[in-house]
C-alpha cells in the first residue's frame, strides 16, 4: 500500500527542468530584483512572440519554489494594484546550478547536430 502512494508521488513529481521552467528561471535571472509576475510575463511574451497566461507563470514559479530553485518575498501593497502586494522572485544557488547544468547539456546536444551547428554559427555572425 505504501508503494501506491510512492508511485503517485513520483507520477506528480518532475525532477528535471521543463522548457517553460527554464525560460522562467532565465527571465528571473535577467530581471534581477524587479522579477515579479508582470515583468516576467512581459519578458516571456516578448521573447516567445506569443501571449502568456500569468496564471501559468505563477504555476511554474510555484513548482520551482517547491523544488528549491527560486525563493519569493512579498513587497508592499500599492494603490495602483488595488492595494495588492507584488511577489518578488529570486533564483537560488541550486537554481543557478541547475540552469548551468541544463545549458551545458543543451550545448553539447546542439553540437552533435552538424547542420544546425553551422546554422547557429551563421546566425551568430
Amino acid at each position: 500500500m505504501s508503494n501506491f502512494f510512492a508511485i503517485i508521488e513520483l507520477m506528480t513529481d518532475r525532477s528535471y527542468l521543463g522548457e517553460f521552467e527554464l525560460m522562467i528561471l532565465l527571465t528571473v535571472l535577467h530581471l534581477g530584483e524587479e522579477a515579479y509576475g508582470v515583468p516576467i510575463s512581459r519578458e516571456l511574451e516578448a521573447h516567445r512572440g506569443r501571449s502568456v497566461s500569468v496564471g501559468s507563470v505563477y504555476a511554474a514559479l510555484e513548482r520551482l519554489e517547491a523544488k528549491g530553485l527560486v525563493t519569493s518575498s512579498l513587497g508592499d501593497p500599492t494603490p495602483e494594484r488595488g492595494g495588492k502586494a507584488k511577489r518578488f522572485f529570486q533564483v537560488t544557488k541550486e537554481g543557478l546550478r541547475q540552469v548551468r547544468a541544463t545549458r551545458r547539456v543543451l550545448t553539447r546536444l546542439w553540437q552533435t547536430l552538424p547542420d544546425l551547428k553551422l546554422e547557429v554559427q551563421l546566425e551568430g555572425k
Binding site: M1, S2, F4, F5, A6, I8, E9, M11, T12, D13, Y36, G37, V38, S41, S51, S53, V54, G55, S56, Y58, A59, L61, E62, R63, A66, K67, L74, P77, T78, E80, R81, G82, K84, A85, K86, R87
Partner: protein, 261 residues
C-alpha cells in the same frame, strides 16, 4: 485621469474560485496589466486560464485520493452483496419486520446507513493509515470534519443518485404504485378513521431501493466486475463521499500539492 477597472464579475470569479495563497499577487498583477492598457477580453482570458490551471494543479495534488476513491468505490457492489448475505443469515429483515412503526422504518434505514458508513469509513481509514506512516502529518480536525460530513453527503448522494432516478425515471413500474411505495412495514390506507395495514416486505422502500435491489450478481468477484450503468450509479455516491471526506484531510504532495498562485 480616470482609472480603468476590470470587469467586476471576472474579478469576483478570480477571487472566489481560482486561487489559494498566491491570489493576491496574481490579482494585483492582472490589475496592473489591465490598467496598463490590456483589454477586457485579455482579462477574462487570464481569469479563465488561472481557474483552469489552479483546478488542474489542485486535482493533480490529490491524484492519490482520486485513485484510491475509485478503487474503493469499485468494491461497493461486493460489500453490498456481503451485507445482503449477512442480513439473510441473521434474519435481520424478519426481526425488523416484527417491530411496530416507526421503529421498523427507523431500524431499516439505520441499518442501511450504518452498513454504508462502515464501508465508507473503512475506506477512509485504509487510506489514512499507510499515508500517515509516510507523511507523519495528519490534520485531525479535518479528519473528524471529513468523517462527520460524510454522513449527510452519503445520504444525500444515495438518495439523489440511486433512489430518485429509480423511483421517478424507471418506466417499468406503473405510476400509481410508485406513489404508494411504503417506507415501512405498515401503510396508512385511510386517514379518517385511521387505518393502518401491514404490507409485504417486497413492496417496501428498503426492499426496492436497498442493497438487494442494486446488487445484480451472486458472487463478490462478479459484483466487482459489474460495470452496468445501474451498478456504476451505486458506486458513485461512495466515490464522491470518500473523495469529499479525504480531500481536506490528507496533506498534499510537498512538491506539487500547493495550489499555484
Amino acid at each position: 485621469m480616470i482609472r480603468r477597472n476590470p470587469p467586476r464579475v471576472a474579478t469576483w470569479i478570480l477571487e472566489h474560485f481560482a486561487l489559494a495563497d498566491r491570489n493576491e499577487a496574481l490579482a494585483g498583477d492582472l490589475l496592473e496589466e489591465f490598467r496598463a492598457g490590456r483589454s477586457n477580453r485579455w482579462y477574462w482570458r487570464q481569469v479563465v486560464s488561472a481557474i483552469a490551471i489552479g483546478s488542474l494543479r489542485g486535482t493533480m495534488g490529490r491524484l492519490d485520493v482520486l485513485l484510491f476513491a475509485l478503487f474503493w468505490s469499485m468494491l461497493t457492489p461486493a460489500w453490498l452483496l456481503a451485507f445482503v448475505h449477512l442480513e439473510q443469515r441473521f434474519s435481520l429483515e424478519q426481526r425488523l419486520w416484527q417491530m411496530d412503526w416507526p421503529w421498523s422504518t427507523v431500524c431499516d434505514l439505520g441499518l442501511l446507513l450504518a452498513a454504508n458508513l462502515i464501508f465508507t469509513w473503512a475506506g477512509i481509514a485504509l487510506y489514512l493509515i499507510p499515508h500517515l506512516s509516510i507523511t507523519k502529518n495528519l490534520r485531525l480536525r479535518a479528519l473528524v470534519k471529513g468523517l462527520l460530513a460524510s454522513v449527510p453527503v452519503l445520504v444525500t448522494l444515495w438518495a439523489a443518485l440511486i433512489v430518485l432516478p429509480m423511483r421517478f425515471i424507471s418506466q417499468s413500474r406503473p405510476a400509481d404504485r410508485l406513489a404508494s411505495i411504503p417506507m415501512s412495514s405498515s401503510r396508512i390506507t385511510r386517514i379518517e378513521p385511521l387505518q393502518v395495514t401491514r404490507v409485504p416486505y417486497e413492496e417496501t422502500w428498503i426492499a426496492q431501493y436497498g442493497p438487494r435491489a442494486v446488487v445484480h450478481e451472486d458472487s463478490a468477484l462478479k459484483a466487482v466486475a459489474d460495470f452496468r450503468i445501474s451498478t456504476m450509479f451505486v458506486r458513485l455516491p461512495f466515490f464522491l463521499c470518500v473523495v469529499f471526506a479525504l480531500w481536506g484531510t490528507a496533506p498534499k504532495s510537498a512538491r506539487t500539492g500547493r495550489i499555484a498562485m
